[in-house]
C-alpha cells in the first residue's frame, strides 16, 4: 500500500463517525426484541412516526414503526419490487411508497428484515398526514387487530381551544385503549419518567443537530438521516438518551478537532422533505463533489419541532399540544417561517427541496416556500422531483443536471 493510500485510509478512519456502529447494534437488538416479543410475553404496537409513543413505552409495549421500516426498505433498494407487488394487489402507483412497500411486505414477510413482527394493536396519529389513516385501516383489516386513532386536526393558522379539548379527550381514550389491550392499569409514575427521558432525548437530538451551526459542520443531513432512527423508535428510553449523549460528545469532539462531514466545506445547504433513501450516498457524494455540505434539514428536526409545547413536569398533558403542533401539522406559511429561521440559524447558502411524490402534506406548498425563501433569505432554491422509497420516480441524469446548475447559482451568489 502506498504512503498516499495509507494516509487516505488513516484520514477516512479519523473522520468516520464512531457512533454509527453503536447505532447499528442498538437497532439490531431492537428489532430482535420486537421480533421475539411474543416469546417474551410482550405486546407489539405499530405506530406512526409522529405518534405519541411514550404511553406505549410506559406500558412495556414494544413500538414498531412501519415508516422506519419503509426507510430501511428504501435504503436497501427493495422499494421498487415491494411497491410493484402492492400495485399488483390493486394499489395505485401514485400512493405513498412507504405505505405500498409496507402493505406488500406484510403479506410476504419480505424486505430487509423478513417483515415486521405481527402487531397486537395499531396506533395511528394523523399529525403527519391523512395517508397514515388509510394505511393503518388497511393493516387493521389485514391483521385483524384493534386500531386506535389519535386524530389531531391541522393548525393552519391557529390552535383552537376546541381542538385542544378534542385531542385531550382522545389521549384519555388512548390510555383506556392501552389498559384494555394490555390487561393492566396505566402507570402514571412510569409515564412521567418516560416523558422526562423523551424530552431529554429530544433536547439531545436537537443539540446534536445544532452542532452543524459550526463551520465546517461535523456532520451532514445525510448523517442525521441515519442517526435519526432512535429518536423515532426509542424515544422515551434511556438507550436513546445515552446514545444521543455519546453522539453529541463525538460531534463536539469533531468540532474541536475541526473534523468535518465534507472535507473542504465551502458551501452550506439545507434540505427539505424526506430523504431519497435509495440515493442518499449518491446525493451526498454529488454535493460533496461541489464542496457543499447539507448542514440542516426540516425532516430530522421535526422530531424536536414541538419541544416548546412539552412540559417536563406535566408531560402527559403537554403531549396534547406537543403532538398537535408538529411541523407538518401547521400551515405552509408557518412552515416557510420555520425554514427561514433554520436558513439563518445554520447559515445556509442554498435550499434543496425534495418534491416527494409520496408525501403531499410535505410537498404541496413547496413552490410557495421556495418563492418566500428566495425573496426573503435571498438564497437560491432547488426543487427536485423524486420519491422517498420508489426509485422508479428518480431520474438520475435529470437531477444531476439540475444540481450542477443549482450549484453554479449558489456559488455565484456567495
Amino acid at each position: 500500500m502506498s504512503t498516499k493510500e495509507n494516509a487516505r485510509d488513516g484520514e477516512k478512519e479519523r473522520t468516520k463517525i464512531r457512533c454509527v456502529k453503536t447505532m447499528k447494534d442498538i437497532m439490531t437488538t431492537y428489532y430482535i426484541d420486537a421480533k421475539t416479543a411474543k416469546e417474551n410475553g410482550k405486546k407489539v404496537a405499530w405506530i406512526t412516526s409522529g405518534g405519541p409513543v411514550e404511553p406505549l413505552i410506559a406500558m412495556d409495549v414494544i413500538p414498531v414503526y412501519p415508516e422506519n421500516h419503509g426507510a430501511m426498505i428504501g435504503a436497501t433498494k427493495m422499494g421498487d419490487d415491494l411497491c410493484a407487488k402492492a400495485e399488483d394487489m390493486g394499489y395505485s402507483r401514485d400512493l405513498c411508497s412507504y405505505a405500498r412497500a409496507d402493505i406488500a411486505c406484510a403479506t410476504i414477510n419480505g424486505g430487509p428484515i423478513g417483515g415486521l413482527p405481527r402487531p397486537d394493536m395499531l396506533v395511528c396519529c394523523n399529525n403527519i398526514c391523512g395517508t397514515v389513516l388509510k394505511w393503518y385501516e388497511v393493516q387493521a383489516r389485514y391483521f385483524n387487530v384493534p386500531l386506535f386513532i389519535l386524530d389531531t386536526p391541522i393548525t393552519h393558522t391557529d390552535y383552537s381551544k376546541a381542538q385542544h379539548r378534542y385531542v385531550a379527550d382522545q389521549f384519555k381514550n388512548y390510555l383506556k385503549f392501552l389498559e384494555a389491550h394490555c390487561g393492566k392499569p396505566f402507570d402514571f409514575d412510569r409515564m412521567e419518567e418516560v416523558g422526562r427521558l423523551s424530552l431529554k432525548g429530544q433536547k439531545l437530538w436537537q443539540a446534536v443537530l445544532d452542532t452543524t451551526m459550526n463551520s465546517p459542520a461535523p456532520m451532514s443531513a445525510f448523517d442525521a438521516f441515519f442517526h435519526l432512527a432512535l429518536i423515532v423508535t426509542l424515544r422515551g428510553t434511556q438507550i436513546a438518551v445515552d446514545y444521543y449523549q455519546a453522539l453529541l460528545d463525538e460531534m463536539n469532539e469533531r468540532v474541536s478537532l475541526s473534523i468535518s462531514a465534507v472535507p473542504r466545506e465551502e458551501i452550506r445547504l439545507m434540505w427539505d422533505n424526506l430523504p431519497v433513501w435509495y440515493r442518499t450516498k449518491w446525493l451526498s457524494d454529488t454535493f460533496a463533489g461541489h464542496n457543499a455540505c447539507l448542514v440542516a434539514d426540516t425532516y430530522t428536526s421535526a422530531w424536536c419541532s414541538s419541544l416548546r409545547y412539552l412540559d417536563e413536569n406535566d408531560f402527559f398533558n403537554s403531549m396534547v399540544e406537543g403532538y398537535s403542533r408538529i411541523y407538518l401539522n401547521t400551515g405552509v406559511d408557518a412552515m416557510a417561517e420555520e425554514v427561514l429561521t433554520m436558513v439563518a440559524r445554520y447559515k445556509a447558502d442554498g435550499l434543496v427541496m425534495h418534491s416527494n411524490r409520496s408525501c403531499k402534506p410535505y410537498s404541496l406548498g413547496q413552490y410557495d416556500i421556495q418563492r418566500i425563501v428566495q425573496e426573503r433569505a435571498g438564497i437560491p432554491v432547488l426543487v427536485m422531483e423524486a420519491d422517498m422509497c420508489d426509485s422508479r420516480n428518480f431520474s438520475e441524469s435529470q437531477i444531476q443536471t439540475r444540481i450542477e446548475a443549482f450549484m453554479e447559482l449558489v456559488r455565484a451568489s456567495l
Binding site: V138, I149, D151, N173, R357, K360
Partner: protein, 372 residues
Amino acid sequence: MEQFTRFHEVAADAAGYARQWKERTRGRVVATLCSYAPEEILLAANVLGFRILGTESPIILADAHLQSYSCTLVRGALEEALAGRLDYIDGVVFPHTCDSIQRLSDIWRMNVKTGFHMDLVLPADLTTQASLDYMTAIMETFAQDLGEKLGTGISREDLGAAVLTCNQIRSAVMRIHALRNKVPEAISGTDLHAMVRAGMVMDRNEFLSLVTPLADALEAEYPTSQFHGKRILVAGGLCNMPDLFDVIEQTGSRVVMDDLCTGSRFFQGLIEPDSDLFRAIAHRYQSRIVCPAKHSGIRARGEALVRMAKESRADGVMFFCLKFCDPFGFDYPYIKEMLDENQVPSMLYELEDSLAADGQFETRCQAFIEML
C-alpha cells in the same frame, strides 16, 4: 327531459348564475370545496353556498403553486381563482378532508384574493363521542365566525329555518334518486347530474321550489318500470364532477344509484330534530356514508357499497376516480374484494380531468356492460 331544462342551464354556466344572483339579490356568494361544508349554516347566513369544482381551461397559473402529482380538482380550482374567474366570490370555506385540500387551503390563503378565508378543521375520525363533541363545537364556532365576517350574525331561528329547507331539499332529491332506482327509464343520468350540480350552486329556495314539484311529477308519471337493461351503480371519487352518464347509458344500461360526493351523498341523510342544531348537523356527517378521507370504521365504506349494490339490484359497479386521489386509492382494493365476494362485478376507470376524446372510455364501458 324538459323538467330538467333549468338545471341544465344552471349547470352549464354556474358562474353566470352566481353573478346574476348576486346582481339581482345584492347577496353574497360563499364558495366551498366539498360536501362537508355545512349547507344549513351558509343558508342561515343568507349567502349563496357555491361549490367550486375544477376548471375547463388549461392549467397554467396553478402550476406555479402545485405539483403535477396533485389532482385536477385541486389544481383546477386554484387555476380558476388565480385567473380571476371567481371574481363573484365573497369568501371561501375549506372543510378539512384530504391532504391535498388541506394544502390547497394554505396556498389559496397565501395567494388568492377571493374575500374572506375560513378553514373548517373537521375531525377525520367520525366514530367517537369525542369527535362528535368536537364537530359540534366547531360548527358553532363556524356559524359565529361566518356571522361576524358577514356582519349579520346567525340566529337560532335562522338556523332552524335553514335546516328545514335543507331537509326538504334532501328529501325531494332523495325521492328522485329512489325513483331512478325503481324506474330507471324515468330519469337519465345526465339529467340527474345537472340537477345535483344545480343543487350545489343555486339559490336553495329556488332549487327547492323546482325540485319538490319535480319529484311529485316524476313519481306520478312513472309508477312502474319497463326497464330490462343493465343496472349500474357508480362509485368512487369524482370531485370535479364530469358528466360521464351519457356515455354509460348509451350502452343501453342505466345508472340506478351512485355513491359520489358529487352525487347522492351530497344530499344524503336528514338532520334530526335536536335542541342543539349544531350537534344535529355534526350527527348527520357522522351518520351518512363518509368520504374516503374520513374514518367510520375499517370496513364501513365497503359494507355500505355492498349494501347499496344489493338494495339497488345493481348488475355491476363502475368505479371512477381522479388520478392522485389517495384516500380512494387506499380503499379501492378492499372494496373491490368485498364486491367480488358478493358476486358484484366491477370496473375501475381513472380520470385525469374530463374524459379524453379518444373513445377509450366508451370502449371500456361497452366491454364491461357486455360482460355483465
